[in-house]
């Protein structure tokens, strides 16, 4: 099957990292005086706000230094500083549940032969910031087909590594460990859903969820389980970690929806990393055309 790219990000629009002009270089090149800089940058940001569609990939530096990965600390800069304790190889993944090929697999064996894909996706965090990330990996559906789930499997559950030696913050009880996420089987089989193993053509850094990380671009970022060690095929809807922690604030589906606010903040708009001002958030993070049919007949209010 030929997979369509999301309509508004053509590969031609992807800036090569080497050509990415950092804000610092841009400012130096522009040689602007101190007083002139702020209005210039605000104007640039609001210009983009109006256009709304120029999805330039976020810089590799920003993608790899601004992370929510509480296993390494709760500040956005903590994972980049602390994730060196994670050992992404050798790595094994346990496959359980209603599946024809359960077992404990070496990661490289598990993925061997599956077609590699490169996808640049918008990434929308539930905290109202967003990025554009050039992922490399495989389609989750290809792995699912290889594992052959049974007829009772309705959902797929993903468990992050639980190892206080490698993930020191797991000594604290700020969250129930390990981190668990899940998808309905049809969501998991959707051709947009990835298991990422790389960013910008490089091996995925520890702080971004090495060596295997779920990417579901039409959902809030917390749905993307990181450093996955277990995949379970189950009949009941998994209780994902954030839902367990605060059921009134986080749900199971967590589809990006500007019309449904988080109880404490609006989801109507988001700040693209690199901008100062916010831009409107799109339903299903701009992937409605591809995924809205998955939720036909469901109450959109239940889909947060």
């Amino acid at each position: 099957m030929l997979i369509r790219r999301p309509p508004d990000i053509r590969s031609a629009e992807i800036t090569d990292e080497r050509h990415y002009l950092s804000r610092r270089e841009w400012l130096t090149a522009a040689g602007l005086s101190a007083v002139a800089i702020m209005p210039e940058r605000l104007a640039a940001a609001s210009g983009r706000l109006v256009q709304g569609t120029d999805d330039k990939p976020t810089s590799y530096k920003d993608i790899t230094t601004y992370n929510n990965f509480y296993e390494f600390g709760t500040d956005k800069s903590d994972p980049a500083e602390n994730a060196h304790t994670l050992r992404p190889r050798p790595w094994s993944v346990t496959v359980e549940g209603d599946v024809k090929k359960p077992g404990r697999y070496d990661l490289d064996d598990l993925l061997k032969g599956l077609p590699a894909v490169d996808r640049t996706y918008r990434h929308r965090c539930v905290e109202a910031w967003s990025m554009v990330i050039p992922w490399n990996g495989i389609l989750l559906r290809d792995l699912i087909n290889r594992l052959e789930p049974g007829t009772k499997a309705k959902y797929v559950e993903f468990h992050t590594l639980y190892d206080v030696q490698q993930m020191p913050m797991q000594r604290s009880n700020i969250m129930p460990w390990p981190y668990v996420e899940g998808l309905r089987l049809d969501e998991a089989r959707h051709p947009l859903t990835l298991l990422a193993t790389g960013i910008y053509g490089k091996t995925i850094p520890n702080q971004n969820g090495a060596p295997l990380r779920l990417v579901v671009p039409w959902k809030y970022g917390f749905k993307g389980g990181k450093s996955i060690v277990k995949i379970r095929f189950v009949e009941q809807q998994p209780r994902n970690s954030w839902q367990l922690l605060a059921p009134d604030e986080y749900g199971f589906f967590a589809n990006v929806n500007p019309a449904v606010d988080h109880p404490r903040w609006s989801q109507a708009r988001e700040r693209r990393i690199g901008d100062f001002l916010k831009r409107p958030t799109l339903p299903f993070n701009g992937y409605a055309e591809q995924v809205a049919s998955l939720y036909a007949g469901m109450d959109p209010k239940k889909l947060y």
Partner: protein, 213 residues
């Protein structure tokens, strides 16, 4: 140098000038002309940093009276006004960041948020109190308001409590920093409620007046 000279020549100028430093740090970070890097989300960094700086200044200003009672150095009262005004300056900066970067000056949305989101409500209320206190901080206002000035400026306690609540209610999960602020605030308020330290000396509303023994 006497204790009061030490306050006048060293501590007060330090408070006046020292308040610039957090702003300078942020300005250099935004301009990207030094090694200071505000990270991938500078707008958020500006907002958070100005918010915590407001609380730090506010707690420092609340530490003046307990410190004065503990040390007996009444001239310390002269630190209260610069610290309080810096707290307001950073609150204004913080509020501006919210209005521009978070809300793009969409007033309808801002009105809705103030009414609907408790952490915004209390933060906004704290800002209004600090605004009123800053507007009535001049020697002229103090003379004009007389005894009512002292009552009005007790509002700083409410502003501090609301400011800490604002911080506590907005964090997603890790409440350790706002809890630390809350603990310091409780200690400072307890110190001034209790008579254990020393009987309170009269308040010298007018900035700079040193009591004669």
């Amino acid at each position: 140098m006497t204790a009061s000279q030490w306050v006048g020549r060293i501590l007060r100028p330090t408070a006046l000038i020292g308040g610039v430093l957090p702003g300078l740090y942020l300005a250099l970070g935004v301009l990207e002309i030094t090694a200071i890097d505000l990270g991938a989300n500078p707008a958020e960094k500006l907002e958070h940093f100005t918010g915590t700086t407001t609380l730090v200044m506010l707690l420092l200003s609340l530490a003046v009276t307990p410190l004065r009672r503990l040390t007996g150095i009444n001239a310390l009262v002269r630190l209260r006004k610069p610290l309080g005004l810096w707290a307001f300056a950073y609150a204004l900066f913080h509020m501006s960041c919210y209005l521009v970067f978070d809300q793009s000056l969409l007033w309808g949305e801002i009105y809705y948020e103030i009414l609907k989101r408790p952490y915004i409500t209390v933060g906004f209320a704290a800002f209004l109190i600090l605004l009123i206190l800053a507007l009535t901080s001049s020697a002229w206002a103090i003379r004009k308001l007389g005894q009512r000035w002292t009552t009005l400026h007790k509002g700083v306690y409410i502003a501090a409590v609301l400011g800490v609540l604002h911080y506590l209610w907005l964090v997603k999960l890790d409440t350790s920093t706002p809890v630390a602020f809350a603990v310091v605030l409780v200690v400072l308020l307890w110190l001034r409620r209790t008579r254990a330290v020393q009987p309170p000396t009269p308040d010298f509303a007018r900035d700079g007046i040193i009591p004669t023994p």
